[in-house]
């Protein structure tokens, strides 16, 4: 199988390479593509962001209002005398649980936005993919970047809320990038896989619509994973989201370093998903152009 290499959008080479050379090129290719197409990524991202709030008077205020509303409702909803996990939290049980849920939901929402959108992603951009020299692999990157922006707004709202309630933040908050960036890579990889699959069959989209809500409960969002009985509290790590949720809570809410094994597991799922997704997308990209 010959491999195509587009250098700087200037040079197109289809050639046969040795195994080692091919492996090196494969590992570097997603990053080379992102670097070479940074202006295109910027142009389309700009358009996607302006489109989201087009025709709305409040515009960007909505992006802040939504998470603010959510965390307010959680706080109010849990000011009952339920027996709640994390009752020993310094912030007091009620607000502690609200933050506990909110941190889980931030991670979950980031994931679910990508999972819902990815299968239809290539269909949204058919006109580009079929008619011009278009790096279709960058669409997954662009849509992840867009979702990243909203997630960052949510995280900011959470941190502000946490400061206003507890009067401070643990230093481990500074470690957020170390879990956030692998999570982005995980989502980009997942989007590559899902959007390639979605190009072949619309079933991928319907499947995600049914599966995503179930993951709300298959992920420890409303309960700590430690509350599960013995085999389940280990098996739940098969759901890769569990690790990210746990690391996020450790460093933001509890102010402690995450369990190194859990952290390594999230790194592994991140790198594996990123490259598996890219491999899958790359393998079928020439067929995708023809079938979409």
């Amino acid at each position: 199988m010959p491999s195509v290499n587009v250098v700087n959008g200037k040079q197109i080479v289809v050639e046969d390479l040795g195994a080692a050379e091919r492996a090196v090129r494969f590992l570097g290719k997603p990053f080379a593509q992102m670097w070479n197409h940074q202006d295109l990524i910027q142009a389309i991202l700009r358009r996607e962001l302006s489109e989201r709030f087009k025709g709305s008077a409040a515009g960007w205020i909505w992006a802040v209002v939504a998470p603010l509303l959510a965390i307010t409702v959680y706080s109010l909803a849990f000011t009952t005398n339920l027996k709640l996990p994390m009752a020993d939290n310094a912030a007091g049980p009620k607000v502690g649980y609200a933050l506990f849920i909110f941190s889980g939901i931030i991670v979950f929402n980031f994931w679910s936005e990508m999972a819902f959108r990815a299968p239809m992603l290539l269909h949204e951009y058919t006109h580009f993919i079929k008619q011009t020299i278009f790096p279709s692999d960058m669409l997954a990157v662009i849509s992840t970047l867009r979702a990243t922006l909203y997630t960052l707004i949510s995280i900011s709202v959470m941190l502000v809320f946490q400061v206003s309630v507890t009067g401070g933040l643990p230093w481990t908050v500074l470690l957020i990038p170390f879990t956030f960036i692998p999570f982005m890579a995980f989502l980009i990889g997942m989007s590559w896989f899902l959007c390639a699959l979605g190009a072949f069959t619309r079933d991928a989209g319907y499947l995600m619509i049914n599966i995503v809500p179930l993951f709300m409960f298959a992920t420890p969002i409303f309960y700590p994973h430690g509350a599960l009985p013995s085999p389940a509290n280990f098996l739940i790590y098969i759901n890769a989201l569990t690790g990210y949720v746990e690391v996020m809570r450790d460093i933001v809410l509890l102010g402690k370093l995450p369990n190194p094994l859990v952290y390594l597991w999230t790194l592994f799922t991140s790198v594996f998903t990123f490259y598996f997704g890219y491999w899958f997308f790359d393998r079928y990209r020439n067929v995708i152009v023809d079938v979409i």
């Binding site: 195509v4 197109i12 289809v14 142009a43």
Partner: protein
Amino acid sequence: MSLSTSSDIVIQTRHLGKAYQLYARRSDWLKQVMLGWWKSYFKPFWVLRDIDLQVRRGESIGILGRNGCGKSTLLQVICGMTLPSHGELRVTGRIAPVLALGSTFDLELSGRENVMIGGAVLGLKRSEVLRKFSSIAEFAGIGDYMEQPVKHYSMGMRTRLAFAICAHVEAEILVVDEALAVGDVAFQRKCLDWIDNFRRSGTLLFVSHSMAEVRRLCTRAVWIEEGRIREEGDPSEVIRNYHRALMVEKDDVHRFSASG
């Protein structure tokens, strides 16, 4: 012809072939993705076979052939839009594809926003697009419509804007696929004059059913039939033979069938 080194060759294909995968049912696509390593669920339909083509810097190649002979696919493969199924391809230099003009526009966005995105798709930096914007607007000549959503444009206006973008990417290789048929005569002439001027410095691949245009613009003609190069050489001669063949050979209704 003067001696040429290999660096003069901007497009080189060797035994290039392209097969589309024809599926009987839509679900076979998915089976192919999941189980493709085990057996194949499609019929290959070879649109290009064994294309050996060398294009030197500064050449203008006219590509002739009947509908469905594979000329558009050849251009798409050379532009890197779709991968060849077989063979080698090497293209050196920035390509501007003038194919299906205007169909890449986002109808909801204004002409200006489409210029920004279209320029980026063709490989321009944001600063470059901004710098060239007034020149693009002038070439397109659509006036105040630039700020309107593209959905309010006529076909001709879309073509004008799309060609104006392509004309400003400073391409080294221009690939034109009978795209100019939509514009009015004055605009067509403007585009042809621009292409004529471009030929002095760049390389041109040109598909047209207008033999007069091919004769005027091209230094070499390639006649493609059923995915193979049937004849290649001096434009007047190839055009003469092509015409003669068109007279003799009838329009075959079965030529798009995969079997045979």
